[in-house]
């Protein structure tokens, strides 16, 4: 059906695109292992020591720990909140949902910039700025709309008969959620967890504002500060960037399908 000419041109197009997209990334990878601080590629020997130096000079040990703490706890609680609200809105129904549901959906359109100013002054008066707890609480609140929407759609896509027959057998609402719906929803929960992790790990704006103390900073903010200080050591900057990207990229290697389909259907469902 497809001519040989077309098949060949398909390869040419897709390879050209891939090269165009990957060129900056690959160049950067090579810079990271280059001994030359100016960023000029140098293959005389591979300087894996760059990663060690960047880890030490970039304050990455403490900031990577901060990112792990914030991302893991935010994702864990966000996911629980998503399951609870998705079950409420998707299966049980909620008193006042005609008002509450649109109000929560509105949250998907509210961008961080619009709420961040009062949040800062409010958390400051509660002594929750420069605190991981403060940042985690913000991530939790902001994660509710998408999480609710995602889990609600997931639960509603499940056959009603399963819920009905479990209820007939005398299963209570909690048992239905925990023992029947949640196991069936495992793939959707996995995708949700991956997306949430990516979003909290990659966050820069919130961490920049709420964690100004260098001892509390997350990895993205520490990296940005590091590159401001080390303009003349490009190879270290590149090495540091790779370290900071590694957790999400590793997950992306393992769960490529979940990431791509999650981002795309997340976009569509929004």
């Amino acid at each position: 059906m497809i001519s040989r000419y077309e098949r060949a041109s398909n390869y040419v197009i897709i390879i050209a695109l891939t090269v165009a997209v990957m060129f900056p990334v690959v160049w950067f990878l090579l810079t990271a292992v280059s001994p030359n601080t100016s960023g000029r590629l140098d293959f005389s020997h591979l300087a894996f020591g760059n990663f060690v130096t960047a880890w030490r000079d970039g304050n990455l040990a403490s900031s990577m720990r901060a990112s792990v703490v914030v991302a893991v706890s935010a994702v864990a609680v966000q996911t629980i909140l998503a399951v609870l609200s998705g079950y409420g809105f998707g299966v049980l129904g909620v008193v006042g949902e005609r008002v509450l549901f649109p109000v929560i959906i509105l949250g998907m359109m509210v961008s961080t910039e619009v709420i961040v100013i009062p949040l800062y002054y409010e958390l400051q008066s509660l002594h929750l700025t420069n605190s991981w707890i403060g940042l985690i609480i913000i991530q939790l609140g902001m994660g509710v709309p998408f999480g609710m929407y995602w889990m609600r759609a997931t639960f509603r896509a499940m056959p009603q008969s399963v819920i009905d027959s479990a209820a007939m057998d005398g299963a209570r609402d909690w048992a239905i959620l925990w023992r029947i719906l949640l196991p069936m929803a495992r793939p959707a929960v996995l995708t949700l967890v991956l997306l949430e992790f990516m979003w909290t790990w990659n966050d820069f704006f919130l961490s920049l504002i709420f964690l100004q103390d260098p001892a509390k900073q997350t990895a993205t903010v520490a990296l940005s500060a590091f590159q401001g200080r080390h303009v003349l050591q490009v190879n270290l900057m590149a090495a540091g960037s790779l370290i900071v990207s590694l957790p999400v990229v590793t997950l992306y290697v393992i769960f490529q399908r979940e990431f791509i389909s999650g981002v795309m259907s997340g976009a569509i469902k929004e």
Binding site: I13, V114, I137, F204, V244, E270
Partner: protein, 308 residues
């Protein structure tokens, strides 16, 4: 679509009249109570507070004074503000329309592709979406630097006259930032459109072929109309993303040189936290939010309007 999702409320089952159904819905409220409390405290309450702040003049420390709508009336006459929103227009074209067009073109060309190792290409093309913007910014700062790869390559292919400090150039800094958006957004639009094209029934193409349609006809009369929904999504996300640009500018240029690459979000950050004029910053936030909403509604309208 976001707006369409909100419109979907009507499809919820009608509230049951029975006592049991009512009990169930109170139970439902108990399930959503905690998430709802977080949401109201973290999103809704501050949203209302920002509206309130925007009517005051406040330096973040001393008592605030009520100034009515002044933060809005003086809005566009502030040169910085006008410049920042002007830059957004350029970014919208480069983050939104160019990836849209490129993605559409490549998805169409590749729609019948049976290339081996598709998932490998997909992995590479989607990678920019997964990288944190800080790293993307650092990568491109290097590419654009005076002794960076872009200038090296221009020199090698005999275009040495074009070499410059891309991000330090008053004319070129903003388009250079825009190109980063093209690079990052294009894989997303292309994969979104490819998924859309695959969903089109093949009979449609076969029937068109029997009627003597060429590839342009296929594109114009089958592919383009089928992808309307995907195009709306891509545009809404990329355009609101362009309007909200912060991380990229903060890490690469800090708005410079001069104010050649400032964005509303950068001004908001500076006015809220660096050099506090909190009322003005809040007004920027509100204007951005309203613009985002208008953009989403207009795009949805345009798409649905053509449906009829």
């Amino acid at each position: 679509m976001r707006a369409a999702a909100a419109g979907g409320v009507g499809r919820l089952p009608r509230p049951g009249r029975s006592k049991r159904a009512r009990r169930r819905r109170w139970l439902g409220l108990a399930y959503v109570a905690v998430p709802l409390a977080f949401y109201l405290a973290i999103v809704i309450q501050p949203l209302i507070a920002t509206v309130n702040y925007s009517f005051y003049q406040w330096d973040g420390v001393s008592p605030a004074t009520w100034v009515g709508g002044r933060n809005y009336t003086t809005f566009w006459s502030t040169p910085d503000m006008a410049a920042a929103f002007g830059h957004v227009v350029v970014l919208i074209v480069m983050f939104g329309f160019i990836p849209l067009a490129l993605g559409l073109l490549c998805a169409t060309l590749l729609s019948r592709a049976t290339v081996k190792g598709q998932s490998v290409y997909r992995w590479f093309l989607f990678l920019p979406q997964v990288l944190t913007t800080v790293v993307v910014a650092i990568i491109w700062k290097r590419i654009y630097s005076p002794d960076g790869p872009l200038n090296t390559i221009l020199g090698l292919i005999g275009l040495g006259a074009l070499r410059r400090n891309w991000l330090g150039d008053f004319t070129w800094a903003l388009p250079s930032l825009g190109m980063i958006g093209v690079w990052g957004g294009f894989g997303f639009t292309m994969l979104l459109f490819l998924a859309g094209i695959i969903a089109i029934p093949t009979e449609l193409f076969e029937a068109a072929r029997l009627d003597g349609a060429n590839r342009w006809h296929e594109f114009r009369y089958i592919i383009l109309p089928s992808l309307r929904g995907q195009m709306a999504i891509a545009l809404t996300l990329t355009i609101t993303g362009a309007l909200r640009t912060f991380d990229l500018v903060y890490v690469t240029t800090q708005g410079g040189p001069g104010n050649a690459t400032t964005t509303p979000a950068l001004l908001l950050y500076q006015l809220a936290f660096v050099n506090p004029s909190v009322g003005q910053a809040s007004a920027i936030g509100i204007v951005m939010a309203v613009l985002c909403m208008i953009i989403a509604v207009v795009i949805t309208r345009v798409v649905e309007g053509r449906d009829k």
